[in-house]
């Protein structure tokens, strides 16, 4: 079962998203004791085309045996390795407001190997408190706190919009190279810092459009 590095340098983002989808269903199959799965079976579970699965996997190597299918446990392990989710990732929250608090308490993160190791805010009333087992530190001392006490890999940004950019700058300064951005601000960041913007209102807009027009949109993207 050879390489795990991308063969060609350009993988469609959507393919990576589907990889996570496959992993999720493989996890279930694995827990059910299923040892082998064909692209057809997995495709049914995931709601995609079987050829799609084979193509997506082919970006990263050969994982199946012809005539049989894919070994569930091995493929799952490979996918996790490819996604980088074969180990725990540490999250650092900036902005302990309504949303931030909910994120800290959100159990799904931990279930998937994402653990908050730090939290920051500027409000003196919040700094020093413990939320869901995480101590809230002063946002102004982020760099020092990260270095001396609670390092983390991914920054989670849930501040007020007007503080978003400076908070992001501080994250970068502290050495973070990936940010999950819950604010509606388009962040300006140096190259090499990865950002994913989460904006639920976009989805609401989409629903409004669908209700208004009776869904004449095409693609049905996963997640």
């Amino acid at each position: 079962m050879p390489p795990t590095k991308p063969k060609s340098p350009k993988i469609p983002k959507i393919a990576v998203i589907r990889l996570a989808l496959y992993a999720k269903h493989l996890e279930i199959l694995h827990s059910e004791g299923v040892k082998l799965v064909s692209s057809l079976e997995l495709a049914d579970l995931c709601g995609v085309n079987p050829a799609q699965i084979r193509k997506d996997l082919a970006y990263f190597g050969q994982f199946g045996t012809r005539g049989l299918g894919y070994p569930v446990a091995e493929l799952l392990a490979e996918l996790k390795r490819i996604m980088g989710t074969d180990h725990v990732w540490r999250l650092g929250l900036v902005g302990v407001g309504n949303l931030g608090r909910a994120l800290l308490r959100h159990t799904q993160f931990a279930e998937q190997g994402f653990v908050f190791t730090a939290a920051f805010d500027r409000n003196p009333e919040v700094v020093g408190t413990l939320v869901s087992g995480v101590k809230v530190s002063n946002a102004e001392q982020m760099k020092r706190v990260v270095r001396e006490r609670s390092p983390f890999d991914i920054g989670v940004l849930a501040t007020q919009p007007k503080e978003a950019q400076s908070a992001a700058d501080r994250l970068v300064e502290a050495g973070v190279s990936a940010i999950l951005n819950f604010t509606p601000v388009k962040l300006k960041l140096p190259a090499g810092v990865y950002v994913e913007n989460v904006d639920f209102t976009v989805r609401l807009h989409l629903l409004c459009y669908s209700i208004t027009h009776g869904s004449d949109v095409t693609q049905e993207h996963p997640t």
Copy 2:
């Protein structure tokens, strides 16, 4: 400024998402007193290709004047009309937990014309309380509450995973035809009910992949 119904029946979903993006930036321009904008200027602000903007708009009609550009106020009004966001939408929350509470208190919704008019939970300790000005009702009486007291247009699902499907069923029963689903459950619903799934963990997985591989993904989808 002619029709607003789609010319051809199939509009790419991604184009509708971009429409919301354009509207957001037009809103800003409008508040700055800008009267006219060219596709080039707007494209720069939105981070997309100018031809893309013209194509997207062309799905719905002709809104610009050659040699000049687009009238900001008018185009904004048109886009809102197209998206259906020219009036307030009423939201109904199911599941007043950590996330639900944060959503009720989230100010961005109201700012964009989305107002919670109802909230439901099964926990007797929560039922009857007031969260962010919204009375929490018993989830089992959803149908009645909706009809007699607090109708709403879009259901927002933030329950525990195991209750998600039955809560969704109840929403449909109560006449709701659009659901914003924050649970990781793939809902089974009758045709004609629109669902948008919001799963932040997908984005985290994507960040993991990027960090691990140094971003070799292609597309850069907005929001």
